[in-house]
């Protein structure tokens, strides 16, 4: 069970609870979301997301949480954030692709932006 919290750019803190769940088709992760803005409890199964990718996603979300909590004091400069982001997407393309799908499914906009931008840079040849 992993309990974490991140606040997405859309505002509103999202608590999420991730647990492994056994189903007929094998292991799946489930995410319970409690979104303060919407006051809904959503149980979203994640069949497309494997554990490795989920670990990366959680790492990213934790980084976002850190960023937001310390962002009030303006502790982290923007270059560091960019450097961390650039580092985060330096994975092999299959993982990047899975990250895109995971971000799409989990509706994490900033991660989606980041990963899509990484792909765009690759396409442009940079």
């Amino acid at each position: 069970m992993i309990v974490g919290r991140w606040s997405d750019q859309g505002g509103g803190a999202i608590f999420f609870l991730v647990r492994r769940r056994r189903s007929s088709d094998g292991h799946m992760f489930e995410v319970d979301e409690y979104d303060r803005g919407y006051r809904q409890r959503q149980c979203r199964p994640l069949p497309n997301v494997i554990s490795k990718i989920l670990a990366k996603v959680i790492e990213y979300c934790k980084y976002l949480v850190d960023l937001h909590t310390s962002g009030d004091e303006k502790a982290i400069p923007e270059e560091d954030v960019k450097a961390w982001d650039a580092d985060f997407v330096k994975v092999n393309q299959a993982t990047l692709f899975d990250l895109i799908l995971a971000a799409n499914h989990l509706n994490i906009k900033s991660l989606l932006d980041l990963t899509c931008q990484a792909v765009v840079d690759m396409i442009k040849g940079l």
């Binding site: 199964p45 931008q117 765009v120 396409i123």
Partner: protein
């Protein structure tokens, strides 16, 4: 009977003549113990003489049978390959051509026996999955399945349908892949490298502040279920630049990363809304729960990616494969707004082949091509780095005649050689054109514009304009700027005050519906104003005649009498006196909200106080450098090392109102008496006293004041600064005494306190655009000398950027 060749070589059974019956065959084949081949029992594929199936139906049967029997439980890849090969061969053969042997069994036998099938061909053939979807058991063809299997499928289906609007919107947003935001593609960094600091010149030209990775919401997309190409309301901004020429190698430049996502040619996963997978879904493999390793990128994500590509890369990306082509088309169709950069392609790259380089089109050719592809393009903004001429303008007009808004900016060394002919062509071709903003019309001298839809027209830099006829009944906003790009060396013989007044006279005939009028020219004088105002403006709300040193009180009186209900009056840079202020304030006391009288050296504080007293609705007052004669002796602003000391008309928009900073005016030698000003107004929100260096004491009793500008009020003594403004949020206090800052702080609670100078920009009338408004001071001084104003030594200082 008696067709012994009909025996299956696998099971050895004989076959009767029978009718082809597809579903039963499949079932039977499944039940047969040796379920690894097609032919089985009596009810088998045979041919009778009268029923000769076409190859296609044979193929179909074979496909079904094969896919069924070979699909899930196939262990032997060899047999699977054979089945594939059969299928492909069957399809290769033309239906009806009698290359098919008489006996199906013979065909099968020959196929199935062949072991030397070309492996290459097999490998290229599509890997097939089950015929039926393993989640819901329905045949997969044309079937959309939620990608959660088992008993959760119903719940998840409910979840996805009953999902919060946010995720629904995001899903539908992502389905179209296009965020409702302006995307500034990362060419800004490249531009930075190439042109030094010129990206900053680009950035202010956009209506909202952008950063290199900026995503600014411009318009919210409508939420809608399902997808439709034409009803999307997303917007995108594209930027292309010369370095795109390097990437635009249309036939050889497909980089490998796109291919990596398509190692296996599968269709996309079963996303909920995905009508595009015509090609993929039939052969989809459902590996639910196993991760997405073998499934291609879904369209939603692909659209996200394509939305961030610059247009040249998008053109290339459309050539990758069918899915990419569809997504590219959708992306093109969703472009509503484009910001393109017209520049010369560089010959920079050293590892370019000559040949490939020749294939690279220049921006002048591919920009019209791109415009043709964007079938829904509505706004077009072009930043010109190289040269804009009539032919280019005509090509834009003809490739995108439904354009409704065109903006042309000049950056760097861009040259605009557009003439009236090009403009007329544009206006007549683009019948829906409603907004036209062009900078740098230096060559434009006469134009006759006939367009029934045009509402906004801003032409700047039109120094040679002498004749202008506008047949546009809907024109609401007209701005003619003769000032931008002028320098003292320009020959002004073609543009003298007479011509300007003629021009205004011509304009006046057609300007009945104009609501906002802006003319900026040093040649404005009373006569021009008279001519202008001979038009009967029915609903003029904003009038701005700036830089015109020839404007005197008489113009103000005429304005006061002719116009009613003015909301904004800007007579900066003119020679009006207190009398004009009095007449203005009496005439527009019920409507005037913004009064800008910067750099009017003849105004004194008496007039200001009168004006403020009589204008109850006043929200913004700009009287920089307007109190008496501005004294520059103590100026310590750094001078720019230019040939001409450029003064800038500086305006800062803070949302609601405008604060105009002044441009500098000639320095008066000798001391002038210090002035004191007491202003009391209940609605004033923004005041600017920029450059009023002889202002010594200031008492402001404006409870609604939000912004106060005291830059360069050097002689303002802190003891004499009284601010009774509880809501004051911003004070600009450059070059003031230090104690002023402290004192102001003590008096009010200030949240933003800015001591840096403002960027010298000029907001246009509706606050939506910033342009530089440099004007040569020497030219101004010459004009002033002609008019006989004081000012022997004209030392002009300029604010630093």
């Amino acid at each position: 009977m008696g067709k012994s060749g009909y025996k299956s070589n696998y099971c050895g059974l004989e076959h009767d003549g029978c009718v082809i019956d597809t579903p039963q065959i499949s079932k039977m084949h499944q039940r047969h113990p040796k379920a690894d081949h097609v032919l089985q029992t009596k009810r088998c594929l045979t041919y009778t003489d009268d029923v000769i199936p076409t190859c296609s139906s044979l193929g179909q049967v074979a496909e079904n049978a094969l896919s069924d029997s070979f699909g899930g439980a196939c262990e032997s890849p060899r047999k699977k390959n054979k089945a594939l090969e059969y299928h492909t061969r069957a399809h290769d053969q033309n239906p009806g051509v009698a290359t098919l042997s008489n006996t199906a069994a013979g065909v099968f036998a020959s196929v199935l026996q062949s072991t030397g099938s070309d492996i290459e061909y097999i490998r290229k053939a599509k890997i097939r999955g089950n015929y039926k979807c393993s989640k819901c058991g329905q045949p997969k063809k044309g079937h959309v399945c939620i990608d959660t299997p088992g008993k959760i499928s119903s719940e998840s289906r409910k979840d996805t349908i009953a999902e919060s609007p946010r995720s629904r919107a995001s899903e539908s947003v992502q389905d179209d892949g296009l965020l409702p935001e302006k995307m500034v593609l990362g060419d800004a960094e490249e531009l930075d490298k190439r042109y030094g600091g010129l990206t900053t010149a680009i950035v202010p030209h956009t209506p909202q502040p952008t950063s290199t990775s900026g995503l600014n919401a411009v318009e919210n997309s409508q939420m809608f279920i399902g997808l439709s190409y034409t009803t999307t309301k997303k917007q995108e901004i594209w930027r292309s630049n010369a370095s795109m020429a390097k990437e635009l190698t249309p036939f050889s430049g497909l980089s490998s990363p796109p291919n990596c996502f398509f190692n296996e040619y599968h269709g996309s996963t079963g996303e909920a809304f995905n009508p595009l997978d015509r090609h993929g879904n039939t052969f989809e493999e459902n590996n639910s729960g196993e991760g997405c390793q073998s499934i291609g990128i879904p369209d939603t994500c692909l659209l996200q990616i394509m939305a961030r590509l610059p247009p040249t890369a998008l053109l290339v990306a459309g050539h990758v494969c069918r899915q990419w082509q569809q997504c590219a088309e959708r992306t093109w169709a969703a472009v509503r707004e484009a910001h393109l950069i017209l520049s010369v392609p560089t010959l920079g790259s050293t590892n370019k082949n000559e040949e490939i380089y020749r294939l690279t089109p220049s921006p002048r050719t591919y920009i019209p091509f791109i415009l043709q592809k964007c079938s829904n393009l509505v706004h077009l903004m072009i930043s010109v780095l190289s040269q804009l001429d009539d032919t280019f303008l005509k090509s834009i007009a003809s490739s995108r005649p439904e354009l409704s808004s065109l903006e042309i900016n000049m950056i760097g060394n861009g040259i605009n050689t557009m003439t009236g002919e090009g403009l007329e062509f544009l206006a007549s071709t683009c019948k829906l054109l409603s907004c036209l903003k062009i900078e740098g019309c230096q060559v434009l001298s006469r134009c006759h514009i006939v367009n029934s839809e045009i509402k906004t027209m801003w032409l700047s830099g039109c120094q040679k304009l002498t004749n202008m006829v506008l047949e546009s009944p809907l024109l609401m906003e007209l701005s003619l700027d003769f000032v931008t790009g002028m320098n003292a060396n320009l020959d002004h013989s073609t543009n003298c005050p007479d011509s300007l007044s003629d021009l205004t006279g011509q304009l006046a005939k057609k300007l009945q519906n104009v609501q906002k009028l802006h003319l900026a020219s040093p040649l404005l004088d009373d006569r021009a104003v008279f001519n202008l105002l001979s038009a009967r403006f029915r609903c003029l709300r904003m009038l701005s005649l700036i830089y015109g040193v020839g404007i005197t009180d008489e113009s103000a009186i005429v304005i006061a009498s002719n116009c009613s209900d003015l909301e904004l009056l800007d007579l900066s840079g003119s020679s009006i006196t207190d009398k004009a202020l009095v007449s203005i304030s009496t005439a527009f006391s019920k409507s005037l909200r913004r009064l800008l009288v910067a750099v009017c050296p003849k105004i004194s504080e008496v007039g200001l106080q009168e004006a403020v007293a009589h204008l109850p609705l006043l929200e913004l007052l700009d009287c920089g450098r307007a109190l008496g004669d501005g004294q520059m002796d103590n100026m310590s602003l750094p001078q720019k090392g230019q040939n001409h000391r450029v003064a800038r008309l500086v305006t800062v928009d803070n949302g609601q109102g405008k604060i105009r900073k002044t441009k500098s005016c000639p320095i008066q030698t000798g001391k002038k008496p210090f002035r004191a000003l007491v202003l009391q107004h209940s609605r004033l929100e923004k005041i600017s006293f920029w450059g009023c260096s002889n202002l010594q004491s200031l008492v402001l009793d404006c409870p609604n004041l939000i912004d106060l500008n005291l830059n360069d009020c050097q002689n303002l003594r802190s003891d004499d600064l009284v601010l009774r403004c509880p809501y004051l949020r911003q004070i600009h206090a450059l070059n003031c005494e230090q104690s002023i800052v402290q004192r102001a702080r003590n008096q009010i609670k200030i949240s933003i306190f800015s001591k840096d100078s403002q960027v010298p920009m000029l907001w246009h009338l509706d606050g939506s655009k910033r342009v530089h408004a440099p004007i040569s001071s020497t030219f101004l001084d010459a004009k002033r000398k002609q008019k006989g104003t004081e000012g022997s030594s004209a030392a002009v200082c300029c604010p630093e950027n």
